[in-house]
Symmetry: C2
Amino acid sequence: MARVALDLMGGDGAPEVVADAVAALDLDALDIDLVLVGPPTLAGELLSARGIDLDAHPRLTVLSASCGVPMVGDPLSYVRTNPNVSVLIAAGAVGAGAVDAWVSVGHSGAAVTAAVLSCGRVTGMSRPALAVVLPATLGPVVLVDVGAAPEASANVLTQFAMAGWCYATALGIPDPAVGLLNIGSETGKGDALRLAADTLMQDRLPALGVRYTGSVEGHDVAAGARAQVVVTDGFTGNVLLKGIEGAVGWAAHQMALAYGDPKPARAVVAGTATGDFAAGMLLGVNGITVIGHGAGRPNEIAACVRLAARAARTDLIGLTQRTFSALMQRTR
Amino acid sequence: MARVALDLMGGDGAPEVVADAVAALDLDALDIDLVLVGPPTLAGELLSARGIDLDAHPRLTVLSASCGVPMVGDPLSYVRTNPNVSVLIAAGAVGAGAVDAWVSVGHSGAAVTAAVLSCGRVTGMSRPALAVVLPATLGPVVLVDVGAAPEASANVLTQFAMAGWCYATALGIPDPAVGLLNIGSETGKGDALRLAADTLMQDRLPALGVRYTGSVEGHDVAAGARAQVVVTDGFTGNVLLKGIEGAVGWAAHQMALAYGDPKPARAVVAGTATGDFAAGMLLGVNGITVIGHGAGRPNEIAACVRLAARAARTDLIGLTQRTFSALMQRTR
């Protein structure tokens, strides 16, 4: 059993789309206890309209929060000054051990802030990173960071490598190889940041039992042949992730024309949005935090909940804490 | 008529693959005079084996060069110290006005060095940039830089924006909009480099008649809706370009499975490699320089030659020089 808190108030289509996601989830089959975080009366009404009796449901409860994060103004300072906002209540439930994980598809910066404030950072991790799982040709690839840290140092990239390795391991990828995203696979390629990060990763990762394969290139991310964890700064990772999404959309459009039938192409694109691909896992905080697309549809939000439960069952946080603890002992 | 020099000695499959490309080109129909750059005896033998009589061909000549750039060691210093290397002879022919453009699919850094040494930089352009044309859903998009300048300043990115705008204009894209590749389209998004570049582009580009649309995101590159010229540093651009290539390959694989027939999917992928997509245009040097994939097949190399001829006919260099001259007068 996994206990997952879901932010009712976050996302472009909240709260209706989030309620649709709840209705789409078979909590019994998934063995998930779901805690909806938002105004209780609103939650009851939304679920009732979808044929769900909140009071009688054995798997579904509500944790009261007064509001969501407004998308206008300064969402981060709003989180810091409004203790009753849904992301703080949800992340706080994880921090207090009342639930095992939480999910939001609202403002991602606000969710990161709430997670850091309520759960704290993993000791040894300077800043959190957002990781996604991409359905590469030869098996899933973890890409980290996709936007939490647009500017990163070699030390931060090395931490991201370790956190990404923990995530891949928790996902069940055996002995995942870590690659540094670069513009060539030969030694000596890349900008100053990549050169420094390559040296640091060569020095630190093998001693922790993390297999480091050196530099990988953009095409390796979709192939999945050379590394199962691809590490980069949040600027490059965000551009690459969105670029891949755009390219898959372009290809689907071209394929629909080439084959004269759009349906299979649409199914391939839809499949990428409902697997693990839909969800960002925030790494480096002491609580499982899943951040999905703001424009996520109900089945995409449901995929985020499933991923959160999966990470809770495989003890992502414990593995991350032990890995960083080993690093701290070595570099002390 | 356009006169194009082609490096016989560059590329993974050189010189055989380059000779295959020559055999694949209908120079009469294209109205191209082709100058093959390499050892004359070798050139004659390779063409003879493909049924082409070099001495009798009205469109085909050879310019003597002793060798290509070795892929081992230090290719850049090899170029600087070997005046008879094919890239220097080919670029030199452009610099001297003997031909209008040159093409190499060999070591790209060596080709950039040869172009700068032999043709010189455009006044006002601090360093050259490599641009590609992507077949976006709503029409072609110029992406610049894809690897010539892994580290760039705001000033350099603004120069890349201008050079990319000139290239898009020379390609016949009417009133191309320029966008800065970023991790969000709202003002204030991005790292320090993007914030500074956004301010500088807002200040400089409109005064030169260049339409600047602000920040665009990774998915906009494959969509082509918001900008026809997308500007970024060479690190991000290289990762994104290869990421898009990888994603299209992944999608083609998935589509082949979904449709139960790989042929149309393969045709879509092959189409991206033989259009303008195959070739990088080096911007900011005073001579048309096309740099293709080292692993390019004959039809991809032939596409590079066609693109070089097209840029020569539309006076890419003259337009670039006039645009930078206007900038220099304004900022003096």
